[in-house]
Symmetry: C2
Subunit: 333 residues, 2 copies
């Protein structure tokens, strides 16, 4: 691990994206979103994914010239077409629009089809939270897990994000339907470390903490066993139905993961005249979590997202921890 | 286990509810919802919960004379107050209204505060599905699980339901944030059986398949470990914020579980002109799940809810399997 400054990282991303023909304004936002992801400690979905992202551009899966556009309006729900454009820019545009709708109508929903991997899902939840809105969003993916009782990958791991604005900061969950996301497992492989607990089965059907073996078998452990695969299927079908886009079953027939379906929901808490009471209630809940009796003496029980701003501040000051091999690869792009 | 006919079961529920002063029309619907729950095989949340439900009425926690009423309207989202009325009737009224809103506006949301345990969560998802709508709904509960890393119960297990209409029937998930719901664990205790896999920790901190030990420790295993408790917290805070109602933290200070907050979302698929394409896509996904290579030779991989109508038909024909002790208790109420 080396440490790279935020400005240096963002600058390198901009240089590479411009070289791929991305428009200057888009380049600034796209590079910033990826650098922010690493800055906040989600290394697997930030710099460490950048070379894969550029490879998808070079192979024509991601089209840097296209943007998401609205194709239909159903009151507070709009359908947008991502036109195989840049995943994080499409998601940013969609969540921006959902927030705008929520500011006028309490609720705003954008259902986006035909888009690409959105990098860090939590990014768009934080956007909602910082705008005073609850954000709920999810994506489907290529098939990455068997259905419960099956051997062959049939369902996506379809990350789900929920973000809630609070006086203490944005409360945030950002979770794949497998115990470990593929990005996280790739991180363990890169570092040559075992997973902290068994995260799936190997091709021989044995539970294992060897991330590489799970990436090969495509049999990660779903959250809650039978519950995780079922929830993944439902998120997939809701996203495809609302957006009029592809299901995991259809995406999986394309080879590469592309043309995925996503849903962005914003709910504006400022629409309610008891907004202060809501904040007070949330603060009491967070305090109660922090007041938990810890399993390990001296341990601290935190609410989801509690450490985010601390990590951000530390990485801004010291530089962003980055895998040296990945950084060299980025410099060579 | 004995078998009780659907009509006999519903009749006994009606007799008992009328004796508690419930209005005749409410009695018919309330009894039917509970009998349907057992009819569809969810015994733990149907007849087996009925004596507890009556006890809550007798102790004044559930007020059979009160109904949910709308208290505020924010476009497609309405806030309702359950007035400490009957949980399943309040939930039925709320989902009915959400569906009505969705029929006019594509999306309909009712956020309900101050209500009681809704019995079987899936009931209201099926309502949405049968009306051609996607249904997404959840409730908060009294604290039933520690936050991750903690020992004392701080978060609810906050069941989440997603239902999707399909030509093959309503696809349905109905899941608590613990691996096993409290109702299910109580069922295992009643039958004197161990859980099929470890479902939580005992008071000494050992993982166990002894449901009674987990009910005592209030340390069930959350789905996806750290993910399940975080998701539970988010569902709680969203429900309380949208409804203006109590959080798990506040409910837990009341002693009995009461005055909970719930959210009912309906999304009308008939609003979309590609409804047939959506159905075709869903059918292809369900067929793909069923075509999984099974882990066990001869096994069948099913989609969530696939067996529901079969169980319903079988129990209608043969009678509903019911714990004999519970049935005697119901007859004596």
């Amino acid at each position: 691990m080396i440490r790279v400054t935020y400005e240096e990282m963002k600058g390198q991303f901009e240089r590479v994206l411009l070289s791929r023909g991305m428009d200057e304004g888009d380049t600034r936002l796209c590079a910033q979103l990826i650098a922010d992801t690493s800055l906040e400690g989600v290394y697997t979905h930030g710099a460490h994914r950048f070379p894969t992202f550029i490879d998808l551009i070079d192979r024509g899966v991601v089209n840097v010239k296209e943007r998401a556009v609205r194709i239909a309006s159903h009151g507070v729900l709009e359908r947008w077409d991502g036109n195989s454009g840049v995943g994080n820019l499409n998601a940013h545009a969609s969540m921006s629009r959902a927030i705008e709708l929520a500011k006028s109508h309490t609720i705003g929903i954008v259902a986006l089809k035909n888009t690409n991997h959105w990098m860090r899902p939590g990014t768009y939840g934080i956007m909602a939270g910082e705008a005073g809105c609850i954000g709920i969003l999810w994506t489907n993916t290529i098939a990455l897990m068997p259905a419960w009782g099956g051997l062959d990958a049939k369902v996506g791991n379809n990350p789900l994000v929920i973000a809630i604005p609070a006086k203490e900061g944005v409360i945030l969950i950002d979770m794949a339907m497998s115990l470990f996301s593929y990005g996280k497992m790739e991180g363990y492989v890169r570092e040559g470390k075992p997973l902290p607990v068994a995260g799936g089965w190997d091709t021989a059907g044995n539970l294992t903490d060897d991330a590489q073996a799970i990436l090969e078998s495509k049999r990660p452990l779903p959250i809650g066993f039978w519950k995780g695969t079922s929830l993944a299927l439902m998120l997939d079908l809701v996203a495809a139905s609302l957006s009029g886009g592809r299901t995991t079953e259809e995406i999986s027939r394309l080879g590469d993961e592309q043309g995925v379906s996503q849903v962005f929901v914003a709910m504006n808490l400022s629409s309610f005249d008891d907004r202060e009471e809501i904040e007070r209630r949330i603060s009491a809940s967070l305090a109660s979590i922090n007041a938990s009796e810890p399993i390990e003496a001296g341990g601290q029980v935190r609410w989801p997202g509690q450490n985010r701003l601390k990590i951000r501040e530390e990485n801004l000051r010291l530089g962003i921890p980055t895998n040296e091999g990945v950084w060299k690869a980025i410099l060579a792009l």
